[in-house]
């Protein structure tokens, strides 16, 4: 059963062209110059009921715009969105009765009042049957004992506590589909785990479809079986996460701060590295804004240790870091057809 059906979805925006600087700012007071931006360009996909899918993409990719069209905030320029039998922006109030939305960065609960009072207000808003309400509260308590938080005003909760409350609040009215936007942002590992467990369990019990938007690859990995990647307004990957993992799982970024390293030598370094370690996926060498050098290495092909040893022989290393590959780099790789 497809709960989400998106076909040829597009969204175009008119943006005011702004001139820079002093004089430009004065000019803009009277300007009427617009340009068209294709934020989302011809996206299509379907989602089955009960799936948890991850929505990824760099900033500015069109992710939020797509989610906004799916949640009924924006009207598409063309194409169709059908979720749970509704056209979101058309029948907003009816549609929204059966969905949930959770933002990592701000709460949907009432800020100044105790958590449990927020729940009571939600009960009234969604006209939740008292039996269902009690059932759900029991379910939440069985999973995670959050009772001690209930009488505390939301504003006094820590970020992690607030997120947990927001999440259970979103399941309270038994929605068919819930949109999570960066639910794990700024949280420590243990809370992240709690949140991931909570979402997984509730999805299992209630078969709620979950659309997760996140920059946190760890969370995406833990929760999602399927990934949708959006970049520059188009859908560039829609498929199994394992395949995806195989690609970036092997990648590491080696970051080094080198002693006495002028900007011009980056090409030299890149060339020598390329020659020394020639492989199917060449090592990318870049200089970051802070003066550090990043080398993106595919460990399946080249041992990071070897690259490090080589650099140490030629240069003096002041400091170094080893990181997992960033989403932006993954997306770039996918865009360049790595998965083909």
């Amino acid at each position: 059963m497809n709960i989400v059906k998106i076909e040829n979805l597009s969204k175009h925006f008119k943006i005011l062209k702004s001139s820079g600087g002093f004089i430009g700012a004065f000019k803009d007071l009277f300007s009427r110059d617009y340009k068209i931006i294709k934020a989302v360009d011809n996206i299509s996909f379907k989602v089955q009921e009960g799936e948890i899918i991850g929505f990824l993409g760099p900033n500015g990719a069109g992710k939020s715009t797509t989610i906004k069209m799916m949640s009924g905030v924006l009207e598409p320029t063309s194409g169709s969105v059908l979720i749970n039998g509704y056209i979101p922006y058309k029948d907003r109030r009816k549609y929204v009765r059966n969905i949930g939305v959770v933002f990592g960065q701000r709460t949907q609960l009432w800020w100044e009042i105790p958590v449990i009072e927020s729940f009571r207000i939600l009960k009234e808003i969604y006209k939740i049957d008292p039996n269902i309400y009690n059932e759900n509260m029991k379910l939440f308590n069985d999973l995670f004992n959050l009772k001690e938080l209930y009488n505390i005003p939301v504003r006094k909760l820590s970020l992690g506590q607030r997120m947990l409350c927001d999440i259970i609040a979103s399941f309270l009215h038994n929605p068919k589909i819930i949109f999570f936007d960066e639910p794990t942002i700024g949280l420590d590992v243990s809370v992240k785990n709690k949140i991931q467990t909570l979402i997984k369990e509730l999805n299992k019990v209630k078969k709620t479809t979950i659309i997760l938007t996140s920059h946190d690859i760890g969370s995406v990995e833990a929760l999602c079986r399927r990934l949708i990647l959006i970049d520059k307004g188009t859908l560039i990957y829609d498929g199994n996460i394992q395949k995806f993992n195989r690609i970036f799982g092997a990648y590491r970024t080696l970051k080094v701060e080198l002693e006495r390293f002028g900007g011009s030598s980056i090409e030299v370094l890149s060339k020598t590295i390329g020659e020394k370690f020639s492989c199917k996926h060449p090592i990318q060498v870049r200089e970051d804004d802070d003066g550090w050098i990043s080398l993106t290495i595919n460990q399946d092909e080249v041992k990071l240790q070897d690259v490090l040893n080589y650099i140490m022989k030629v240069y003096l290393i002041r400091d170094l870091k080893i990181e997992e590959i960033e989403t932006e780099n993954v997306v770039r790789k996918v865009y360049e057809g790595e998965l083909a």
């Binding site: 002093f22 700012a25 004065f26 803009d28 007071l29």
Partner: protein, 264 residues
């Protein structure tokens, strides 16, 4: 010194970006002028030309000028500081190697300078050329420069006091509104002080507010002010300027100890 200039410039630039703010505020000012024109015309009807020593023209010009310079003396420093305290951003100001009072003042100068160019200057032109050429002479403009600067300084310090109070109470909404109302009423900006009943005039003489509007305005529209009167006015302004500045330095050293930062 350069860093203070930068603060002024930034403040100036961000003011420009609010394109509509400029339009709406201009509209609001125009309507205000219209209202006071008709209101005072009505007040003067059947009065025989002069009330409390001022003709309709004098009163109208006085109030129109008050509006023109209003934007020079309303600094929003109190709101800015309260906002920073409530949101915990005040720490950013406190850790900078810049004197906060000076920093806020130069920020206010930038903001006020923008208003000077976009509101005060055009308004002055209109008043001089359309309404009453001759009511403001070059001499009176020149004489009013220092009083205006002093008036700004006094007004800024009053706002700064309120801003410092936010270190104690976080939100200063009520205090600020009260301050704005009192300043406008007792400074002669809404009704010329000439109209005040005697007891009130006496009380107002002991308060700093008339140094903000009444003094610069009187100097601006006076035809031939004696040196004695001019110096007396300057003296009053200077005294208040010094007193308020001193109060702020003292207050700051107390208030800084109390800063609690929000958020977490």
């Amino acid at each position: 010194m350069k860093k203070y200039i930068m603060i002024t410039r930034n403040s100036f630039m961000s003011s420009i970006i609010y394109r509509f703010h400029f339009f709406y505020t201009s509209l609001s000012n125009i309507f205000y002028i219209i209202i006071i024109y008709f209101l005072w015309k009505a007040i003067y009807r059947g009065s025989g030309g002069s009330i409390n020593g001022m003709t309709f023209n004098q009163t109208f010009i006085y109030l129109a000028l008050a509006l023109s310079i209003f934007c020079l003396f309303k600094t929003y420093t109190d709101w800015e500081m309260s906002y920073e305290v409530v949101n915990g951003i005040i720490v950013m100001d406190l850790i900078k190697p810049i004197d906060i009072q000076l920093m806020k003042m130069f920020g206010a100068i930038g903001f006020v300078f923008y208003n000077f160019i976009t509101v005060t200057l055009p308004a002055l032109f209109i008043i001089i050329f359309i309404f009453q050429p001759g009511v403001i002479t070059v001499r009176s403009i020149a004489l009013s420069i220092i009083p205006m600067v002093l008036a700004f300084f006094i007004s800024f310090n009053i706002d700064y006091v309120i801003g410092l109070t936010s270190f104690y109470t976080e939100s200063i909404w009520g205090i600020s509104i009260a301050k704005d109302t009192i300043v406008l009423l007792l400074s002669g900006a809404v009704i010329p002080i000439n109209f005040f009943p005697d007891i009130l005039r006496k009380i107002v003489g002991f308060l700093p507010f008339q140094a903000i509007y009444h003094i610069p305005l009187t100097i601006l529209i006076s035809k031939d002010m004696s040196i004695y009167d001019y110096l007396k006015f300057l003296g009053i302004q200077l005294s208040w300027a010094i007193v308020l500045y001193a109060v702020n330095r003292l207050y700051y050293s107390k208030a800084i100890k109390v800063v609690t930062v929000n958020g977490g």
